[in-house]
Protein backbone atom coordinates (compact mmCIF):
# COMPACT_ATOMS: atom_id res chain seq x y z
CA UNK A 1 0.00 0.00 0.00
CA UNK A 2 1.33 3.42 -0.99
CA UNK A 3 -0.04 6.52 0.73
CA UNK A 4 0.40 10.03 -0.60
CA UNK A 5 -0.81 13.46 0.47
CA UNK A 6 -1.24 16.45 -1.80
CA UNK A 7 -2.87 19.83 -1.57
CA UNK A 8 -4.28 21.90 -4.37
CA UNK A 9 -5.60 25.32 -5.09
CA UNK A 10 -8.12 26.19 -7.77
CA UNK A 11 -8.83 29.80 -6.86
CA UNK A 12 -12.52 29.00 -7.15
CA UNK A 13 -15.23 28.90 -4.46
CA UNK A 14 -15.64 25.70 -2.44
CA UNK A 15 -19.18 25.13 -3.75
CA UNK A 16 -17.87 25.23 -7.32
CA UNK A 17 -15.03 22.80 -6.48
CA UNK A 18 -17.45 20.51 -4.67
CA UNK A 19 -19.72 20.23 -7.73
CA UNK A 20 -16.69 19.69 -9.95
CA UNK A 21 -15.12 16.82 -8.01
CA UNK A 22 -18.45 15.01 -7.70
CA UNK A 23 -19.02 15.26 -11.44
CA UNK A 24 -17.12 12.17 -12.64
CA UNK A 25 -17.51 13.23 -16.28
CA UNK A 26 -15.39 16.29 -15.49
CA UNK A 27 -13.18 14.79 -12.80
CA UNK A 28 -11.91 11.60 -14.49
CA UNK A 29 -10.45 13.36 -17.58
CA UNK A 30 -8.40 15.49 -15.15
CA UNK A 31 -6.25 12.39 -14.66
CA UNK A 32 -3.77 12.34 -17.55
CA UNK A 33 -4.78 9.53 -19.90
CA UNK A 34 -8.07 9.02 -18.05
CA UNK A 35 -11.48 8.78 -19.68
CA UNK A 36 -15.01 7.82 -18.76
CA UNK A 37 -16.11 4.70 -20.60
CA UNK A 38 -19.67 4.61 -19.26
CA UNK A 39 -21.64 6.30 -16.50
CA UNK A 40 -23.29 3.57 -14.45
CA UNK A 41 -24.96 5.78 -11.82
CA UNK A 42 -24.87 9.42 -10.65
CA UNK A 43 -21.95 8.47 -8.37
CA UNK A 44 -20.17 5.78 -10.39
CA UNK A 45 -18.53 5.27 -13.75
CA UNK A 46 -16.63 2.71 -15.74
CA UNK A 47 -13.34 4.32 -16.67
CA UNK A 48 -9.92 3.62 -18.06
CA UNK A 49 -6.53 5.21 -17.86
CA UNK A 50 -3.72 4.90 -20.37
CA UNK A 51 -0.36 5.53 -18.75
CA UNK A 52 2.20 6.45 -21.39
CA UNK A 53 5.82 5.55 -20.72
CA UNK A 54 7.33 7.16 -23.79
CA UNK A 55 6.50 4.85 -26.67
CA UNK A 56 5.20 2.07 -24.43
CA UNK A 57 1.96 2.33 -22.50
CA UNK A 58 -0.16 0.44 -19.99
CA UNK A 59 -3.93 0.68 -19.82
CA UNK A 60 -5.96 0.06 -16.68
CA UNK A 61 -9.74 -0.36 -16.92
CA UNK A 62 -12.19 -0.45 -14.04
CA UNK A 63 -14.57 1.61 -11.96
CA UNK A 64 -14.54 4.90 -10.09
CA UNK A 65 -17.19 5.39 -7.42
CA UNK A 66 -17.96 8.10 -4.90
CA UNK A 67 -18.50 5.88 -1.83
CA UNK A 68 -18.74 8.58 0.85
CA UNK A 69 -19.96 12.12 0.51
CA UNK A 70 -20.31 14.70 3.29
CA UNK A 71 -21.92 17.76 1.69
CA UNK A 72 -21.63 19.89 4.84
CA UNK A 73 -17.92 19.19 5.41
CA UNK A 74 -17.15 19.03 1.67
CA UNK A 75 -15.44 15.72 2.13
CA UNK A 76 -15.65 12.80 -0.33
CA UNK A 77 -14.10 9.38 -0.65
CA UNK A 78 -13.66 7.92 -4.12
CA UNK A 79 -12.84 4.27 -4.69
CA UNK A 80 -10.91 3.29 -7.81
CA UNK A 81 -10.70 -0.36 -8.82
CA UNK A 82 -8.94 -1.33 -12.02
CA UNK A 83 -7.23 -4.13 -13.86
CA UNK A 84 -4.38 -3.92 -16.33
CA UNK A 85 -5.72 -4.51 -19.83
CA UNK A 86 -3.92 -7.52 -21.32
CA UNK A 87 -1.98 -8.11 -18.14
CA UNK A 88 -2.18 -9.50 -14.63
CA UNK A 89 -1.83 -6.26 -12.69
CA UNK A 90 -4.27 -4.23 -10.64
CA UNK A 91 -4.36 -0.57 -9.65
CA UNK A 92 -6.75 0.19 -6.83
CA UNK A 93 -6.97 3.33 -4.77
CA UNK A 94 -9.00 5.11 -2.11
CA UNK A 95 -8.89 8.82 -2.81
CA UNK A 96 -10.10 11.10 0.00
CA UNK A 97 -10.73 14.66 -1.08
CA UNK A 98 -11.26 17.32 1.56
CA UNK A 99 -12.11 20.79 0.30
CA UNK A 100 -11.30 24.04 1.97
CA UNK A 101 -11.52 27.60 0.73
CA UNK A 102 -10.23 27.82 -2.85
CA UNK A 103 -8.73 24.33 -2.92
CA UNK A 104 -8.28 21.28 -0.77
CA UNK A 105 -6.26 18.22 0.13
CA UNK A 106 -6.09 14.76 -1.38
CA UNK A 107 -5.08 11.65 0.51
CA UNK A 108 -4.42 8.70 -1.76
CA UNK A 109 -3.99 5.13 -0.58
CA UNK A 110 -3.07 3.02 -3.59
CA UNK A 111 -2.37 -0.63 -4.17
CA UNK A 112 -0.57 -1.46 -7.39
CA UNK A 113 0.30 -5.00 -8.46
CA UNK A 114 1.75 -6.66 -11.56
CA UNK A 115 4.19 -5.26 -14.09
CA UNK A 116 3.94 -1.66 -12.83
CA UNK A 117 4.67 -2.73 -9.25
CA UNK A 118 7.61 -4.85 -10.39
CA UNK A 119 9.55 -1.62 -11.00
CA UNK A 120 9.69 -1.13 -7.24
CA UNK A 121 7.81 0.91 -4.66
CA UNK A 122 10.07 3.94 -5.13
CA UNK A 123 9.14 4.11 -8.81
CA UNK A 124 5.44 3.60 -8.08
CA UNK A 125 5.53 6.43 -5.53
CA UNK A 126 7.35 8.76 -7.96
CA UNK A 127 4.95 8.06 -10.80
CA UNK A 128 1.83 8.33 -8.61
CA UNK A 129 3.15 11.55 -7.12
CA UNK A 130 3.65 12.95 -10.64
CA UNK A 131 0.21 11.74 -11.72
CA UNK A 132 -1.56 13.32 -8.74
CA UNK A 133 0.37 16.61 -8.97
CA UNK A 134 -0.61 16.82 -12.63
CA UNK A 135 -4.21 15.99 -11.60
CA UNK A 136 -4.26 18.79 -9.02
CA UNK A 137 -3.07 21.29 -11.62
CA UNK A 138 -5.83 20.22 -14.01
CA UNK A 139 -8.40 20.47 -11.21
CA UNK A 140 -7.72 24.20 -11.17
CA UNK A 141 -8.95 24.42 -14.75
CA UNK A 142 -12.30 22.68 -14.46
Amino acid sequence: MVELDHSFSTGKPTDYNWDAILDLDRLIPCVQGGKVVERTSPTAAKAEIKVKMGAMSMTFAGTVEVVEQDDAAHRALLKVKSREVGGQGHANADVAIDLNDGGGTIHTAAQITGKAASMGEGVVVSVLDGLIKDFTQRLGQI
Binding site: V51, M53, M56, S126, G130
Partner: protein, 180 residues
Protein backbone atom coordinates in the same frame (compact mmCIF):
# COMPACT_ATOMS: atom_id res chain seq x y z
CA UNK B 1 46.76 3.82 -41.36
CA UNK B 2 46.95 7.35 -42.72
CA UNK B 3 44.05 8.38 -44.91
CA UNK B 4 45.27 8.83 -48.48
CA UNK B 5 45.19 12.51 -49.53
CA UNK B 6 42.14 13.44 -51.59
CA UNK B 7 38.55 14.65 -51.53
CA UNK B 8 35.90 12.24 -50.34
CA UNK B 9 32.13 12.48 -50.07
CA UNK B 10 30.41 10.04 -47.76
CA UNK B 11 26.79 9.26 -47.04
CA UNK B 12 24.46 6.44 -45.98
CA UNK B 13 25.63 4.30 -48.91
CA UNK B 14 29.11 4.29 -47.41
CA UNK B 15 28.30 3.61 -43.77
CA UNK B 16 26.23 4.47 -40.75
CA UNK B 17 25.77 7.52 -38.56
CA UNK B 18 24.30 6.30 -35.29
CA UNK B 19 23.00 7.99 -32.15
CA UNK B 20 22.97 5.98 -28.92
CA UNK B 21 20.85 7.18 -26.01
CA UNK B 22 20.52 5.99 -22.43
CA UNK B 23 17.80 6.57 -19.86
CA UNK B 24 17.48 8.39 -16.56
CA UNK B 25 14.92 9.24 -13.89
CA UNK B 26 13.19 7.32 -11.10
CA UNK B 27 11.41 5.07 -13.62
CA UNK B 28 14.49 4.55 -15.84
CA UNK B 29 13.95 0.80 -15.53
CA UNK B 30 10.87 1.08 -17.74
CA UNK B 31 12.71 2.82 -20.57
CA UNK B 32 14.97 1.57 -23.32
CA UNK B 33 18.53 2.31 -24.34
CA UNK B 34 18.11 3.26 -27.97
CA UNK B 35 20.18 2.81 -31.09
CA UNK B 36 18.98 5.36 -33.63
CA UNK B 37 20.29 5.61 -37.17
CA UNK B 38 20.47 8.86 -39.09
CA UNK B 39 19.35 7.73 -42.53
CA UNK B 40 20.08 10.91 -44.50
CA UNK B 41 23.46 12.57 -44.03
CA UNK B 42 26.40 13.74 -46.07
CA UNK B 43 30.02 14.28 -45.12
CA UNK B 44 32.84 15.92 -47.04
CA UNK B 45 36.37 14.93 -46.17
CA UNK B 46 39.39 16.74 -47.55
CA UNK B 47 42.70 15.16 -46.69
CA UNK B 48 45.95 16.96 -47.43
CA UNK B 49 49.39 15.36 -47.51
CA UNK B 50 50.55 14.80 -43.92
CA UNK B 51 47.19 16.00 -42.66
CA UNK B 52 47.85 19.62 -43.65
CA UNK B 53 44.94 21.46 -45.28
CA UNK B 54 42.50 18.77 -44.18
CA UNK B 55 38.88 19.47 -43.30
CA UNK B 56 35.73 17.60 -42.29
CA UNK B 57 32.15 18.76 -42.76
CA UNK B 58 28.92 16.89 -42.12
CA UNK B 59 25.24 17.69 -42.38
CA UNK B 60 22.37 15.45 -41.31
CA UNK B 61 18.63 15.57 -41.87
CA UNK B 62 17.00 15.86 -38.44
CA UNK B 63 13.85 14.25 -39.82
CA UNK B 64 15.66 11.10 -40.94
CA UNK B 65 16.24 9.39 -37.58
CA UNK B 66 15.06 5.79 -37.42
CA UNK B 67 15.05 3.69 -34.25
CA UNK B 68 16.94 0.46 -34.98
CA UNK B 69 16.82 -1.22 -31.57
CA UNK B 70 16.00 -0.72 -27.92
CA UNK B 71 17.30 -2.68 -24.97
CA UNK B 72 16.78 -2.87 -21.24
CA UNK B 73 13.21 -1.61 -21.01
CA UNK B 74 9.85 -2.92 -19.89
CA UNK B 75 8.75 -5.08 -22.83
CA UNK B 76 10.32 -5.15 -26.26
CA UNK B 77 10.00 -2.37 -28.81
CA UNK B 78 7.92 -3.31 -31.84
CA UNK B 79 7.72 -1.45 -35.15
CA UNK B 80 4.84 0.66 -33.84
CA UNK B 81 6.80 1.80 -30.78
CA UNK B 82 9.91 2.51 -32.87
CA UNK B 83 7.86 4.65 -35.23
CA UNK B 84 6.31 6.44 -32.26
CA UNK B 85 9.75 7.28 -30.86
CA UNK B 86 10.87 8.62 -34.24
CA UNK B 87 7.73 10.76 -34.29
CA UNK B 88 8.52 12.11 -30.80
CA UNK B 89 12.07 12.96 -31.94
CA UNK B 90 10.59 14.89 -34.87
CA UNK B 91 7.82 16.61 -32.92
CA UNK B 92 9.35 17.21 -29.51
CA UNK B 93 13.13 17.12 -29.70
CA UNK B 94 14.81 17.92 -33.02
CA UNK B 95 11.78 19.45 -34.76
CA UNK B 96 13.54 19.26 -38.10
CA UNK B 97 16.28 21.67 -36.97
CA UNK B 98 19.83 22.03 -38.18
CA UNK B 99 22.45 19.34 -37.62
CA UNK B 100 25.82 20.41 -39.02
CA UNK B 101 29.47 19.98 -38.17
CA UNK B 102 32.38 21.89 -39.64
CA UNK B 103 35.99 21.38 -38.63
CA UNK B 104 38.16 24.25 -37.49
CA UNK B 105 41.40 22.31 -37.12
CA UNK B 106 42.42 18.88 -38.41
CA UNK B 107 45.77 17.32 -37.67
CA UNK B 108 47.21 13.94 -38.47
CA UNK B 109 47.09 11.54 -35.53
CA UNK B 110 48.28 7.93 -35.16
CA UNK B 111 45.86 5.87 -37.26
CA UNK B 112 43.89 8.77 -38.67
CA UNK B 113 42.96 12.36 -37.95
CA UNK B 114 42.36 14.44 -34.85
CA UNK B 115 39.43 16.71 -35.64
CA UNK B 116 38.27 19.83 -33.80
CA UNK B 117 35.32 21.86 -34.93
CA UNK B 118 31.90 23.33 -34.31
CA UNK B 119 28.72 21.33 -34.00
CA UNK B 120 25.52 23.21 -34.77
CA UNK B 121 22.48 21.52 -33.27
CA UNK B 122 19.16 23.28 -33.76
CA UNK B 123 20.85 26.64 -34.13
CA UNK B 124 23.19 26.45 -31.12
CA UNK B 125 26.88 25.95 -31.91
CA UNK B 126 29.45 24.43 -29.54
CA UNK B 127 32.98 23.13 -30.07
CA UNK B 128 33.60 19.39 -30.17
CA UNK B 129 36.64 17.21 -30.86
CA UNK B 130 37.02 13.61 -31.92
CA UNK B 131 39.41 11.16 -33.54
CA UNK B 132 38.64 9.82 -36.96
CA UNK B 133 40.37 6.47 -37.12
CA UNK B 134 41.22 4.81 -40.39
CA UNK B 135 41.62 1.05 -40.69
CA UNK B 136 43.79 -0.76 -43.21
CA UNK B 137 40.67 -1.68 -45.19
CA UNK B 138 39.65 1.98 -45.60
CA UNK B 139 37.15 1.82 -42.73
CA UNK B 140 36.67 5.13 -40.93
CA UNK B 141 35.32 5.25 -37.40
CA UNK B 142 34.74 8.11 -35.01
CA UNK B 143 32.71 8.77 -31.90
CA UNK B 144 31.70 11.73 -29.78
CA UNK B 145 29.70 12.03 -26.57
CA UNK B 146 28.00 15.22 -25.56
CA UNK B 147 25.20 16.54 -23.38
CA UNK B 148 22.05 17.62 -25.18
CA UNK B 149 21.53 20.37 -22.60
CA UNK B 150 24.83 22.01 -23.64
CA UNK B 151 23.06 22.78 -26.92
CA UNK B 152 19.91 23.96 -25.14
CA UNK B 153 18.05 20.73 -25.93
CA UNK B 154 15.76 19.48 -23.17
CA UNK B 155 16.07 15.68 -23.02
CA UNK B 156 12.77 13.94 -23.80
CA UNK B 157 10.84 12.95 -20.70
CA UNK B 158 7.66 10.97 -20.05
CA UNK B 159 5.69 9.51 -17.18
CA UNK B 160 5.47 12.83 -15.34
CA UNK B 161 9.20 13.42 -15.64
CA UNK B 162 10.12 10.13 -13.96
CA UNK B 163 11.39 8.57 -17.21
CA UNK B 164 13.89 10.55 -19.26
CA UNK B 165 16.34 10.14 -22.06
CA UNK B 166 19.77 10.59 -20.47
CA UNK B 167 21.29 13.99 -21.16
CA UNK B 168 24.50 12.50 -22.57
CA UNK B 169 24.25 10.89 -26.00
CA UNK B 170 26.84 9.19 -28.18
CA UNK B 171 27.15 9.69 -31.90
CA UNK B 172 29.18 7.18 -33.91
CA UNK B 173 30.20 7.20 -37.51
CA UNK B 174 31.32 3.97 -39.15
CA UNK B 175 31.94 4.25 -42.87
CA UNK B 176 34.07 2.84 -45.62
CA UNK B 177 36.23 5.33 -47.44
CA UNK B 178 34.89 5.46 -51.00
CA UNK B 179 37.34 4.43 -53.69
CA UNK B 180 38.12 7.48 -55.82
Amino acid sequence: MAIPPGSYTLGPADGTLTVRTGKAGAAAKAGHNLVIEVTRWEAALEVGAGGGGSSVALTADARSLAVRSGSGGMGSLGDEEKASIAQSIDDDVLKGGTIAFRSSAVVEAPGGLRVQGDLDLLGATRPVAFDLDAGDDGRLTGSIRFKQSDWGIKPFSALFGTLKVADEVEVDVDAKLPVE
